[in-house]
């Protein structure tokens, strides 16, 4: 049986984790490699690194971070942020990423999704979709969501559901759905749009934006609430509020099928 995934996400700026990371039993650190190793050993199902630098030097540093992180973990690694063209995807996959997320560039040129999926396989192309709820017009009952780009600063006029369906039809392997309204609020995912997208598209959906508690993770993954296939979170893990293992236990106790946390045993370690 397929389990629901818990995915910690690290925002990387100029080669360092921003927001700060504070794990139990580890010193305060902004080093992405140390953070990735800690999450890996806690039983994260996957890791996500997002590049939030804007400069070319920052981009090169990011590729180096991807290479160093990939060399330390044995779980899937999704990377994204500023991916504009095929050369960026090639560079990131070459550095050891398993999946690459495209966002604004796919909105500007949807056929990029098909080009990348044909070349690298759907399983490694994630389409990141940032959405915002529109103010309902008089008489409207169902909320409408639009796609926003450039970190939520620019509207596109695209309907979120249609865009997700189009991305799936063009060959995306997964949708990483972030609510800009909820991002950073710590009051939980936007469950309405998460559920709608997840029920509508035939590919896995990763919920993102707004997690402040373990209950929020559960809501995102519950088939009747967010119905997402995977739950992404940043600050609750970074600040040492909860470990991945605690999250897994909570979810399992509340009926969400997750991969049990397994302590390393019986493997010859040479490195």
């Amino acid at each position: 049986m397929l389990k629901r995934r818990v995915i910690p996400c690290l925002d990387i700026k100029n080669g360092r984790v921003v927001k700060g990371v504070h794990f139990a039993n580890l010193r305060d650190t902004g080093d992405p490699v140390e953070a990735a190793r800690a999450y890996d050993s806690q039983g994260a199902d996957e890791l996500c690194l997002l590049d939030i630098t804007a400069t070319t030097e920052g981009r090169d540093t990011f590729v180096d971070v991807v290479r160093r992180v990939a060399g330390q973990i044995f779980t899937p690694l999704t990377v994204g942020g500023g991916v504009r063209r095929e050369a960026d995807v090639r560079r990131l996959l070459g550095a050891g990423a398993d999946k690459v997320a495209v966002n604004s560039a796919a909105v500007a040129n949807p056929l990029l999704i098909r080009q990348l999926a044909d070349r690298y396989g759907s399983q490694c192309i994630v389409v990141a979709v940032d959405v915002r709820q529109l103010k309902p017009l008089p008489g409207e009952t169902d909320p409408l969501y639009e796609v926003v780009i450039h970190g939520g600063t620019r509207s596109t006029g695209l309907d979120a559901l249609s865009w997700c369906e189009q991305a799936a039809a063009l060959g995306a392997g997964e949708i990483l759905l972030t609510s800009m309204d909820k991002d950073g609020t710590r009051d939980g995912y936007d469950l309405a749009i998460t559920r709608e997208v997840s029920q509508r598209v035939p590919i896995p959906v990763i919920a993102s934006g707004g997690v402040g508690s373990l209950e929020h993770l559960r809501q995102g993954l519950d088939p009747k609430e967010g119905a997402a296939d995977a739950a992404l979170a940043a600050s609750i893990f970074h600040f040492g509020l909860y470990t991945i293992a605690q999250a897994k236990h909570y979810l399992a106790d509340h009926g969400i099928p997750v991969r049990p946390h397994e302590a390393p045993r019986g493997v010859l370690i040479t490195g």
Partner: protein, 206 residues
């Protein structure tokens, strides 16, 4: 003395993580895209991701395909990962139909589009690709899968571990003599994956 493994580079995806995992479990890894070099290997790991298509046709029909068959027929330990396992079988229905290496009996099929999570036809539609961690039977261990196609074989004695997704039960690992395959990605399956690779490296078994 570390076991020497030839890791086949056939342009079917990123090799770094497989190499990294093999080194972690004690192998000495030589990455090669040279069929002559592969033909002389004492132990071969053949990874792949992506799809059956023109690339796999070139491989199956070309010198690399011949080299892989030679290693297998000679009886040296061989492990195919994901697409590398699927390629051991006869044909795939992917991309309109392509031949595999035909070392083992079976077909590669796509998961049906309308699978449901439960018996109830109103229950949630299952996503394709089958992506994430699933348990295999009979061991109950979890491995990381990322695939839309699976192997269907008329010979269940080939299958070592099974995995279920929706209504489809498919081989998670296969074994016949010196030939092994896994549909999951052991290099991405943390400790379970490393244990699986170590068994192969140490014993030529999985």
């Amino acid at each position: 003395m570390p076991r020497e493994v030839i890791l086949v580079d056939s342009q079917l995806g990123n090799l770094d993580s497989v190499e990294h995992a093999l080194i972690q479990v004690g192998a000495s890894v030589i990455v090669s895209s040279d069929p002559d070099r592969v033909a002389t290997a004492r132990m071969v790991v053949f990874p792949g991701q992506g799809s059956f298509g023109p690339t796999t046709r070139a491989l199956v029909d070309g010198a690399m395909g011949a080299a892989l068959r030679m290693v297998i027929e000679r009886g040296d330990p061989f492990l195919g990962i994901c697409l590398g396992m699927q390629l051991l079988f006869e044909q795939s229905e992917e991309s309109g139909g392509f031949d595999g290496l035909k070392v083992l009996p079976g077909q590669v099929r796509r998961f049906p589009a309308d699978m449901r999570a439960g018996e109830d036809p109103e229950s949630a539609r299952l996503k394709i690709p089958h992506m994430g961690w699933s348990d295999v039977q009979p061991t109950g261990e979890h491995f990381y899968f990322a695939h839309s196609y699976y192997v269907e074989t008329p010979d269940p004695s080939l299958v070592m571990w099974w995995c279920r997704y929706g209504s489809v039960e498919f081989p998670a690992t296969i074994a016949r003599g010196n030939v092994f395959g896994c549909q999951f990605h052991p290099e991405k399956s943390q400790w379970s994956g490393l244990r699986f690779l170590r068994s192969f490296i140490l014993g030529g078994r999985a």
